[in-house]
């Protein structure tokens, strides 16, 4: 079936020759990943522009446009952003666990 389509590819005719600017297409993803990824890419000072879109509601993919300063690789920035995002969620989970473990919260019984 869809075995041949990679999860991420570059939209044809959107990449600059040096790879510093490109539009990535991520299949089977939505605003959930798109907006978080856009935010993390924008936190990178080497990124000149980053934006994402869901081009059409009945096509199950998103576009992420990345443009870099000074010919840096957009793919590298993309990969770094993904690694940093993983770190974000690890940290959130760690703090959530800490708070749960501390037991400093109200407990109550809710009837169903």
């Amino acid at each position: 079936m869809s075995q041949e389509i990679p999860k991420v590819d570059i939209v044809p005719n959107t990449a600059s020759e040096d790879g510093s600017a490109a539009t990535y297409r991520i299949h089977e993803e939505s605003h959930t990943l798109g907006n978080a990824l856009r935010w993390m890419l924008m936190k990178n000072p080497k990124v000149e522009f980053c934006g994402y879109s869901v081009p059409h509601p009945s096509e199950n993919f998103i576009h992420v446009r990345v443009q870099m300063y000074d010919g840096f690789s957009s793919t590298d920035a993309f990969a770094t952003a993904l690694d940093d995002l993983e770190n974000v969620f690890d940290t959130i989970e760690e703090k959530y666990d800490e708070s749960l473990k501390s037991g400093k919260y109200e407990t109550w019984v809710e009837k169903s």
């Binding site: 869809s2 075995q3 041949e4 389509i5 990679p6 999860k7 991420v8 590819d9 570059i10 991520i26 299949h27 089977e28 993803e29 939505s30 605003h31 959930t32 990943l33 907006n35 978080a36 856009r38 935010w39 993390m40 924008m42 936190k43 990178n44 000072p45 793919t75 590298d76 993309f78 990969a79 993904l82 690694d83 940093d84 995002l85 993983e86 770190n87 974000v88 969620f89 690890d90 940290t91 959130i92 989970e93 703090k95 959530y96 666990d97 800490e98 708070s99 749960l100 400093k104 919260y105 109200e106 407990t107 109550w108 019984v109 809710e110 169903s112």
Partner: protein, 350 residues
């Protein structure tokens, strides 16, 4: 309590101000806003407020809306649960049509830990790891010995209501030992599925599988998963004591304290979260210039209500797990873009 004004979203009478976050490199000259994991960890605060058997309230402070929203969206649509998907009707003589009854079966929340099962993908064979079988065989009859003068259905008939507890689980393969004494069953046994009269009968086989909320809402693990942004009220100059009561009534109960002796008005920092930010206070000319309303952009008050086998406290962790799996899949594929010679292929749906 003073808060960095950059963290505040202004709420005026007819507009909101300072809406977008500005903590990006290049936004403020001479300031570094690039990603810093250390700083993020220092600023991040997660505080569980309230836990019940069905719901959890917690504060998530110091993240961008895109992160909080990603987790909220995952909770609604991408944390898997088990629900009835295939219904084989052998007999149904009730007034509820087959397809309506089948739909109702699908909506019953099942108490099965989704980690115990695998997802049934198109083309897969049914196995004891991806499918649970329930059966219903239910017939309504007359009560042979109704109490004298009885008029109510529960007195006149036996089995006049088909309830969710009447689904019986039929273990297949190794399921009997695998699930042990935590037998799959509906989380609530008292859900009315159909009302019957003598002679009517329901006989069905039900297949439950694992899937996610974006496939069908019945797979959503939550009743609601939402966040509000923390309200912030600043009093710019003391409220005249003749207006204190009126000022207090402009806000939700508990938000404004009035000192019983001095009649000094203050905001209760513990209960300010209960305010609904109605902007009522901005309608009264006597309070013009006395108060400013806003919300703290990066302070999220989460509320998650579980409607599934998950403990409320576990749901948020599950959403993080799903997000990290997403990131890993995309990450592996991006690596392939950088280095296309590698042999392992990352494809859709993996």
């Amino acid at each position: 309590m003073s808060i960095d004004p950059r963290r505040l979203v202004g709420v005026k009478a007819e507009r909101v101000t300072n809406i977008s976050s500005t903590d990006f490199p290049g936004h403020y000259p001479g300031e570094d806003h690039s990603w810093d994991a250390q700083k993020f960890k220092q600023n991040l605060k997660v505080q569980v407020q309230r836990v019940s058997n069905r719901s959890i309230d917690f504060d998530l402070v110091g993240v961008d809306a895109s992160i909080a929203n990603a987790l909220r969206r995952i909770l609604l649509a991408e944390v898997p649960t088990i629900a009835i998907e295939h219904v084989y009707v052998y007999d149904n003589t009730t007034v509820i049509q087959d397809e309506v009854l089948a739909h109702r079966m699908g909506l019953i929340p099942l108490d099965v830990d989704p980690d115990m099962m695998t997802t049934l993908l198109p083309g897969d064979d049914l196995t004891d790891r991806n499918t649970l079988v329930f059966k219903v065989d239910f017939e309504c009859t007359r009560n042979p010995r109704p109490p004298p003068g009885a008029t109510e259905p529960e007195d006149l008939y036996l089995n006049h209501e088909l309830l969710s507890k009447h689904l019986s689980w039929h273990p297949e393969g190794e399921q009997k030992t695998y699930f042990g004494n935590h037998e799959p069953q509906p989380t609530n046994g008292d859900i009315v599925l159909a009302k019957l009269r003598p002679g009517q009968r329901v006989q069905m086989d039900l297949h439950a599988i694992k899937s996610v909320g974006k496939d069908h809402a019945k797979f959503s693990p939550v009743a609601t998963a939402s966040y509000r942004i923390l309200p912030h009220i600043s009093i710019l100059k003391p409220i005249p004591k003749e207006h204190a009561k009126k000022f207090q009534q402009c806000f939700a109960p508990g938000v404004v304290d009035i000192d019983p002796t001095t009649h000094a008005v203050s905001i209760n920092q513990k209960f300010v979260r209960n305010d609904t930010v109605t902007r009522e206070v901005l309608r009264h000319p006597e309070f013009e210039g006395y108060v400013e309303l806003s919300r703290v952009r990066d302070h999220f008050l989460f509320n998650i209500e579980s409607e599934s086998a998950y403990e409320p406290a576990r749901l948020f962790k599950e959403s993080i797990k799903v997000m990290k799996a997403k990131l890993a899949t995309v990450r592996a594929s991006v690596e392939l873009l950088r280095n296309p010679t590698r042999s392992e292929d990352v494809v859709m749906g993996s």
